[in-house]
Amino acid sequence: MKNGPLFFFGLFFALALSWAGLALGTQAQLGSLSPHYDDLEGKAFPERANGIASRGQLVYQDLGCAACHTQQVRRPEFGADKERNWGQRQSVARDYVHQTRPLLGNSRIGPDLANFGARSLAADENEEFLLAYLYNGIHGMPAYRFLFDVRKQVGESSPKALQGVAPTGYELVPTERAETLVAYLMSLKQSYAFAEARPFEPASKAEGAHE
């Protein structure tokens, strides 16, 4: 290999090829993906997270929650995601169009959280439940006590204080970070049935298929 410029061009080209294929190719395919407007419901899906939840996403990211929790449901026959009640359908690219940084994650030391908000609502677990989980830890997840202030109760107790945890004379108040984190977790849902998220069915079985 004597030709220096050709060598450098080859190096440059090898990487440019995969970059064009993977980054630009996906951009061409998904770059213009938009939310789906549902006429019946009169709004577009996925819904945009509110401001508090968006701030909570930053807390989720900064504590490194994504090291143990994924936010991507695999299709029903691929793994036991559906059986574990993590989602009735697979996650699709459209679920993430509003997220400035999708936290898909790559490790499931804890459960998937893509539908955590929807799950909590169904199980009737409100914000207070979640704050108690964060304070006490649950199922092997450690307690995140630094997200809470234990302070001496002076006069009326704070309306935000968690009941029945702090010793008498003290109250346990979640910090703003804990509140936004919980708001974020409660906002997580991928329940709208996008057309592309439907499980694949062989053409012959599909409804109204031409023989």
Binding site: A23, G31, L63, R75, L103, S107
Partner: protein, 473 residues
């Protein structure tokens, strides 16, 4: 002096080595410090895996932050510094001219380490990006890019200014690593951090980056070292060397496409994982050729350097085969999202680290101008590293497999999974502790070597280069 250089039987220590002594020694010492520091972080991280309450009250040490910190310390602290030092030394030797601009290497090395420190402090305080292998905060990333340029430029200069027109495989791999890292690192910075692309496209770009880090940076650095060490120590030409060029280009062309295999079943177009799996199979072509070229490493004789290299090369080949098997969808459904992936990462890091240890044990005496003070310490390091890596990877792989099987059975709760994995995670923790001890001995040994005075007796050893690698004693 000039006659000595053009003479193939030039002395083992020449002007070329002296020109680089200070700056490369700095890179090596930094890399050892990062290796031990990253190892300690990894140890805490592993303890948290089986005892989640460990240090949980301290926000700096959440599991997620520690994982990002240890990964940054090991890849950007240890692997980068060691790989750069080895690549520059090899390029200077094979280029046949002293390292020009060695002060830039020193300056770049200082700023590189400062950048990694800043990154780790940033992660500890909550600024991680959450992209695997690109966890460092946005303010640290440009520093690393400029520092890298300062370190790598002298390497490219010594290649373009080389004395011989013809080049050798080591040079291709080393130059490729130096040239390609800034290319994909800067693109990833722009597309993920400074002007982020939308939605899941970020996951695709992040996977592309992480794969390039291993396939187009760490792997070429390791191959550069092997192509130099094996024929040099064995004193034989590389068999079927004509094929080496195809091995080189097949790694570059196919390796960079492999990243998509981690996105199997994810919310991305299905062709991305499919391309990843295909590339993972195609890149075996590279592994076959390097195996044919470098198989001599598996008969190390008495050379401790080659023993390190053989372990690393074996891990490199094994990693490629495991990648092919695991990336198929039938296996990925179990191993995805589990500790098995961590085992695979550790296998890659083990391959790289062992080959770098080999290169460092070979080059350090020539760089410093003195022989290693203790053969026993080198052997102890080999035993600790080989044993530690084997135990760590095996126990994480078994734990990951069990975890994956259990996750796919909805009746097994997370507490039950944790209790099933516990013994294997304890074994992995012990292995990590062993690795730290071994790596500490390397660092101390190098400092001792650096302050060894080159006396008459040590100089004599240079006339019998084999003694320098502490193979005889």
């Amino acid at each position: 002096m000039t006659t000595a250089m053009s003479n193939p039987a030039s002395p083992e220590v020449g002007e070329i080595d002296r020109s680089a002594r200070c700056s490369l020694s700095f890179l090596l010492v930094s890399s050892f410090a990062w290796l031990v520091f990253g190892g300690i972080l990894a140890l805490i991280n592993l303890v948290q895996l089986h005892t989640p309450t460990f240090l949980a009250d301290c926000s700096i040490f959440t599991f997620g932050r520690l994982q990002a910190m240890q990964e940054t310390a090991l890849i950007y602290g240890w692997a980068a510094n060691a790989g750069l030092a080895v690549a520059l030394w090899l390029l200077a030797r094979l280029g046949g001219s002293p390292l020009r601009g060695a002060n830039y290497v020193l300056l770049g090395g200082i700023f590189w380490s400062l950048g990694v420190q800043l990154a780790i402090m940033g992660i500890a305080l909550g600024d991680q990006t959450s992209f695997a292998f690109l966890q460092m905060p946005r303010y640290a990333q440009p520093i690393l890019l400029f520092a890298f340029a300062a370190v790598a430029a002298p390497g490219v200069l010594v290649w373009t200014g080389r004395r011989n027109e013809t080049t050798y495989a080591t040079q291709w791999y080393a130059v490729a690593a130096l040239f390609l890292f800034p290319w994909f690192f800067s693109v990833a910075q722009v597309m993920l951090i400074f002007s982020p692309v939308r939605g899941v496209l970020q996951a695709v770009v992040a996977a592309w980056f992480a794969q390039n880090l291993f396939s187009l940076w760490l792997a070429p650095l390791a191959m550069a070292a092997l192509y130099y060490l094996v024929p040099k120590i064995k004193g034989k030409v590389v068999p079927s060397y004509d094929f080496a060029i195809y091995g080189f280009w097949s790694l570059l062309l196919f390796g960079t496409w492999m990243g998509g295999r981690h996105l199997i079943g994810g919310p991305v177009p299905a062709w991305i994982p499919t391309m990843g799996i295909t590339a993972t199979v195609l890149v075996l072509f590279h592994h076959m050729i390097v195996f044919v070229n470098l198989r001599g490493v598996f008969t190390p004789g008495g050379s401790t350097v080659l023993k390190f290299a053989a372990y690393g090369f074996g891990a490199y080949l094994l990693g490629a085969v495991v990648d092919v098997v695991i990336s198929s969808r039938a296996f990925a459904v179990a191993t995805q999202f589990t500790l098995f992936q961590q085992a695979q990462t550790h296998l890659g890091v083990a391959a790289f680290s062992m080959i770098m240890f080999a290169a460092i044990y070979f080059l350090a005496p020539r760089l410093v101008g003195a022989a290693w003070p203790s053969a026993g310490l080198i052997r102890a390091h080999y035993v600790a590293s080989a044993g530690g890596f084997t135990l760590l990877i095996a126990s994480l792989a078994i734990a990951g497999w069990k975890q994956g099987v259990a996750l796919n059975d909805a009746s097994v709760s997370f507490e039950m999974i944790a209790s099933q994995l516990r013994p294997w995670l304890l074994a992995a923790t012990a292995a990590q502790a062993l690795l730290i001890v071994g790596n500490l001995s390397l660092g101390i040994h190098f400092v001792r070597l650096f302050f060894t005075k080159s006396t008459e007796s040590t100089l004599k050893q240079f006339s019998q280069p084999a003694t320098l690698e502490a193979s005889v004693s």
